[in-house]
Symmetry: C2
Subunit: 335 residues, 2 copies
């Protein structure tokens, strides 16, 4: 696959299975958690795929590792560059470290300090930029493209890349297999959504074996570009560029590759407030004993707040990450 | 086994395997977590068996369910009684609810509010007592024995019972199998210890397949009855009755059944301070994304603080529970 791989086209189901083989023994097969208390409250069966337990504390490691594995060896040795508010940064940095290659990570200056520190801890060179800049030469995309050209680095995109989407799709392969092992068929799968890499990959993998499963994305209020795009069938952008507690879900608009993969599966968008995300973090603390960050809790919040119907159904949600500062976490769980 | 079962003698390895069969599909097969950051810090391989992810938030559900399953059906229908500072209470209450039988739980009045509330949420009748009482008719043991006689309830002891020890031992069966699947042999297993039910069961199960594994108990400073007993070969009691942040590890002395199971496997005792337990909770928050309560963090603390040698070794620790109030948790992770 590495020889003929084109990251700019949609991945196939075979690409996701190939990613799963590459990630075997490297990524964690994260457990599916559940809570009798939450099930009783919802009147349904809630399955929580626990990606905070993934290497680097989020699903992003999967896509990053798979994508780097697909770079031809001579190019790979020169290193990679990525831009990210945090979890993709950590995923790329950790994967690059495992391959023994340099990584330059471009992060917004207002990203959580924990995510910046963690990214540096994996040996990456972190460059900070101003998320609100009006200078087109100083956007993260411009900085990334420039570095890629100057140093011969390969750009690892956060979502609009077939190798990245295929890696994230392994979450869905595992989830479907785990549900099947429990004797359950998933009626709906809810996925935290920024650019849509995780959502597209999981949607592909889950509907491949459970074609009747509804696909839902979950986004923050004010950053609901995917929900609005899915509703109209046209990719639209957010007006806001910053300001959500759900810091990992602030992509400007759906990806070119990810969006058709979701519309093709009749995906719908749920939108959750920061308070709903905090309530979901609190429920995860009490009933799942799982540390979830605000953006990582969006899908759980969509189910717990009733935005995705759960009564009498089996609803799977992806808890996508757990990289959160102590102050932010404790404010959420104190309720 | 139910017909001929004698809870007052030591369980056998076959009893642990029988418990595993009873618990299949009922208890969670909890994952083994690890962290490259913690491994690098210790210069070894740390495996964390994540029992906070167990039903009711601690391993106690395993022993309680297995013990209740072993009560002859006619007796079982009348119900069960248990005394516990919290996690055994929740385990027995939840298991009784699953069997559809009454449960009376006798808890110290100073137990964490969360544990009292959770126990009630499983439908149990909770009776509070004064942990510091000098009146021998008002100890938890006396109250429990009285209720058992009056109402025909079966007393489910927290640790000194073959059925309970066998249930807790399933943690060790799973751990050994999971380590083997990772291609690892456990050099030392460290187990949070109160009366020693979990420690004895895990020691039996792990050393059965990995006979060279060292067995370590972990206890709070001031409640190190097991460590002192193991050092001298004689069961000795603690002077203190309350006062540790590690509230789940305050049994007065090692059990009559559990103690010989540990001395027979050359177990050693590690003793950790509350500050060390808090530091372990903090590391679990940042690097494992797992919520661990103070007493549930004792074994992890023993490894992270260097009390159990880890350099160049594979050390497995049981994170035994995650039922903790928000204020206690946030004080710990704030560092």
């Amino acid at each position: 696959m590495a020889e003929s791989f084109d990251p700019t086209t949609a991945p196939t189901l075979a690409d996701i299975h190939a990613a799963a083989e590459r990630l075997a023994g490297v990524a964690v097969t994260t457990p599916v958690l559940s809570s009798p208390v939450l099930d009783a409250r919802l009147g349904g069966r809630l399955l929580v795929k626990a990606e905070p337990l993934q290497r680097t504390g989020s699903f992003k490691f999967r896509g990053a590792y798979n994508r780097i594995a697909l770079i031809p060896e001579a190019d790979r040795a020169r290193g990679v560059v990525a831009f990210s508010s945090g979890n993709h940064a950590q995923g790329v940095a950790a994967a690059a470290q495992m391959f023994g290659i340099p990584a330059v990570i471009i992060m917004p200056a207002d990203a959580p300090q924990l995510k910046i520190a963690n990214t540096r801890s994996y040996g990456a060179d972190v460059i900070l930029y101003d998320r609100a800049t009006a200078d087109p030469s100083q956007t993260r995309e411009a900085i990334g493209a420039r570095l890629a050209a100057e140093r011969g680095l390969t750009l690892v995109r956060p979502y609009d890349d077939a190798g990245v989407i295929a890696g994230q799709g392994t979450v869905g392969l595992e989830l479907a297999a785990q549900a099947q092992a429990m004797g359950l068929t998933i009626d709906a799968v809810v996925i935290c959504c920024s650019g849509g890499g995780l959502a597209a990959g999981v949607a592909m993998a889950v509907t491949a074996s459970m074609p009747m499963a509804e696909v839902w994305t979950a986004e923050p209020v004010g950053f609901d570009d995917m929900a609005r795009s899915l509703a109209t069938g046209e990719r639209v952008a957010n007006d806001l560029r910053s300001g959500s507690l759900q810091d990992s879900l602030m992509a400007v608009m759906p990806g070119e590759i990810t969006f058709p993969l979701l519309t093709g599966r009749q995906a719908r968008g749920a939108v959750v407030s920061d308070a709903e995300a905090q309530a979901a973090m609190r429920d995860a603390f009490f009933h799942l004993k799982l540390v979830v960050e605000p953006g990582g809790a969006a899908a759980l919040a969509a189910a717990l707040s009733g935005k995705v119907p759960t009564a009498g159904r089996t609803v799977a949600v992806i808890a996508s990450g757990g990289n959160v500062d102590v102050a932010t976490y404790c404010a959420a769980i104190a309720g």
